[in-house]
């Protein structure tokens, strides 16, 4: 009896427990509403179904959440400029592809080159953020507030305030399908990003370094870690991933819409990290949790859309979910509950 309750306790306290429960609850709500929610069929040669939509649509968020997790771990703060950085990357890529025209049907530059330029620009944004955070020790939120405000301005500057269209099929691949592959490309992009990050974390000491630096920067420096460089790197990686997400978002609509690409996605990415059971104060992190968090958010969004909740009202539900989760995760709340349990146990013992 005691043994059983103990293992249950361990399950509840496992780091992935809460994120998974959240995802399960959201998905369950869907099944009750739409019995064929999990149905996946082949339609027009591609996979088709609600689930596919959720997985496809959350790709950008997953990519952002991965970067956000690293930045959070290393600096104990969040990068709120990722949405704007997405716009910058998309703007630069599309502007190069269109050669400055508003709408083109042929490419002015090779896609790979333009995409690289977009990601590079994002990397530069990351370097700027990283410099402020790691070198000047500015609070991450404040430091990234600069690009949060300026980013879309820069993107608009690049596109001269227009929406730049690249109506070339080759450019639509990233946000669409590769040839006759039935799975949407963004899913692969997200998967590749996750796999690459997982391999990096598995095969290199980056994860340990990030956790160590995020937990105690001074001590990390004295054991030979270049704390500033590691923190800087985390921000560069975060922005590069934002750049990639920006390209995916841009490819979906084969255009650079500086005002709308990645709009409000930074908040969702932070939310994904929090939902994943990560401490927003930095230190140890859990990438899987963040990814599950990202899928949960998209599932929630899709669900609410499907339930005909107006897009404007969506935030209310998100807010409720956040509050419940952070309260459940709050150490004070947990110790409060533990205290109550103990008291109950004590009274039982006394009897």
């Amino acid at each position: 009896m005691k043994q059983k309750s103990f293992s249950w306790q361990r399950l509840v306290h496992a780091r992935l427990f809460m994120p998974l429960v959240c995802l399960a609850v959201v998905l369950l709500a869907n099944v009750i509403r739409t019995p064929d929610f999990f149905k996946i069929s082949i339609n027009n040669g591609v996979l088709y179904g609600y689930l596919i939509d959720i997985i496809n649509r959350s790709s950008e968020l997953v990519i952002l959440a991965v970067g956000m997790t690293l930045a959070t771990a290393a600096s104990g703060g969040q990068d709120i400029s990722v949405g704007a950085v997405m716009a910058v990357s998309a703007a630069i890529c599309c502007q190069l592809l269109s050669g400055g025209e508003v709408s083109v049907t042929s490419l002015a530059a090779p896609i790979v080159l333009a995409a690289l330029a977009g990601v590079l620009a994002a990397g530069l944004c990351g370097a700027f953020n990283g410099f402020l955070v790691a070198k000047l020790h500015i609070q991450p939120m404040v430091a990234t507030l600069i690009l949060y405000t300026a980013g879309r301005g820069i993107a608009q500057l690049v596109t001269r305030g227009q929406i730049t269209y690249v109506r070339v099929d080759a450019y639509k691949v990233l946000g669409g399908y590769i040839g006759s592959c039935p799975i949407p490309t963004p899913v692969f992009v997200a998967l590749i990003v996750v796999i690459i990050m997982a391999v990096i974390l598995k095969k290199t000491a980056l994860g340990l370094y990030l956790e160590s630096v995020g937990n105690n920067g001074k001590a990390s420096r004295l054991v030979g870690l270049n704390s500033a460089l590691i923190c800087f790197m985390a921000y560069v990686i975060c922005s590069i991933l934002a750049g990639i997400a920006g390209l995916v978002a841009s490819s979906r609509i084969y255009s650079a819409d500086a005002n709308n690409i990645g709009l409000n996605l930074e908040m969702d990415a932070i939310l994904a990290v929090a939902l994943g059971g990560n401490n927003l104060g930095g230190g140890s992190f859990n990438l899987t949790g963040s990814i599950i968090g990202a899928y949960t958010i998209q599932a929630l969004t899709t669900t609410l859309y499907a339930m005909k909740v107006s897009a404007d009202q969506l935030p209310v539900y998100k807010a409720i979910v956040i509050v419940i989760i952070v309260i459940l995760q709050s150490p004070v709340f947990r110790s409060l509950i533990a205290g109550m349990k103990r008291k109950r146990a004590v009274t039982v013992d006394e009897k």
């Binding site: 404040v142 507030l145 600069i146 405000t149 608009q156 927003l280 404007d312 998100k318 807010a319």
Partner: protein, 341 residues
């Protein structure tokens, strides 16, 4: 003795005020032919930003404790929409709407404050939830724009307070300078909050909490309660500021005041309040708002610039202040370090 105190907060404030004067005076010189030198232009800074000033004051309080509140923009939208809804769709009076606004602000302050100070949840994430919640609730109240036509409300909104100077414009119309009551409320708020911060134990306690919360507990301050109160006061001021905002815009809708939280935060930061807490004040915040307003005015007056330049110029300025603060901070840290040696 004074000069020592000037070391950090004083220096930052001096720079902020100096920069504001520099910008404004150069604006007056460069755009004198475009009316920039008129006193009303200066008054307009206050008229347009009355709501923001009050909201930023509230945010400054929270920031002094080392916290943050990013829900203020959404709460403003909620306040405006609820006010508009009550007056237009429910036929209630403007006074009721005002009271409702303050209550909404207070409620947000109470809940967020409780979660932040008593459950010790990070303020960023809690107020992020508050931001989502308020914005969503605004849509629940009304997805349509509501124009306020309530007589009393419009009377308040249009109640010009005429000042004894003015000018005759090119159409031969004498235009007296004026302000709205909102400006008086905003300035009164700044003065009261500044006095509170300087002359009450609660105010000093906020600085202590921001300086070192652990110490504040050990020194017998009721940190949780004072932090809670700071958030409640912030909520109240957001409600009040939201109502002032509403008096300026006379409307309520979902998209209102989007991004206002970042305006308020950057105003406070420009005004010399450190996000790490313990340093800052509302007078600086007032100047922060004025600086932002002046930049916008300069760009409007210039008249050919596209919106992205506004964003880029503002963020460059923000960047300047943030880096400046970091440098001043590290210099004083160096001093500290030298002392240890």
């Amino acid at each position: 003795m004074k000069s020592k105190k000037l070391s950090r907060s004083g220096l930052l404030l001096t720079i902020t005020v100096g920069l504001f004067l520099l910008m404004y005076i150069s604006g007056m010189l460069i755009f004198s032919d475009k009316g920039f030198a008129k006193p009303q232009m200066f008054l307009n800074l206050f008229i347009s930003n009355a709501g923001l000033i009050v909201i930023s004051c509230g945010l400054t309080l929270v920031m002094i404790t080392g916290g943050i509140d990013i829900s203020v923009g959404s709460v403003t939208a909620l306040v405006c929409t609820v006010s508009a809804f009550m007056m237009e769709n429910m036929g209630l009076s403007a006074v009721t709407a005002l009271i409702a606004s303050l209550i909404i602000g207070l409620l947000f302050g109470l809940v967020q404050g409780y979660l932040v100070s008593y459950l010790e949840i990070q303020p960023f994430i809690i107020t992020l939830a508050g931001m989502f919640f308020a914005r969503g609730m605004t849509a629940v109240v009304s997805t349509e724009m509501i124009s306020i036509k309530n007589e009393l409300f419009l009377k308040w909104a249009k109640a010009k307070i005429v000042l004894p100077f003015g000018y005759t414009n090119n159409k031969g119309v004498y235009i007296e300078s004026y302000i709205y009551p909102t400006v008086i409320v905003a300035l009164l708020t700044v003065v009261l909050v500044a006095l509170m911060l300087k002359y009450t134990r609660f105010g000093r306690s906020l600085y202590a909490i921001g300086g070192n919360a652990q110490s504040a507990v050990m020194m017998g301050l009721n940190v949780r309660r004072d932090k809670f109160r700071a958030y409640v006061l912030d909520g109240f001021l957001t409600g009040l500021g939201g109502f002032l905002f509403c008096l300026n815009s006379c409307a309520g809708f979902v998209e209102q005041a989007k991004g206002l939280e970042m305006d308020a935060i950057s105003a406070a930061v420009i005004g010399g309040t450190l996000l790490t807490g313990g340093v800052g004040g509302v007078v600086g915040t007032l100047f922060g708002v004025l600086i932002k307003g002046t930049i916008a005015s300069l760009i409007t007056t210039q008249g050919t610039l596209s919106s992205w330049w506004v964003r880029i110029a503002l963020s460059a300025l923000l960047c300047f202040f943030i880096v400046l603060q970091a440098v001043i901070g590290s210099v004083s840290a160096k001093k500290h370090g030298a002392r240890l040696a």
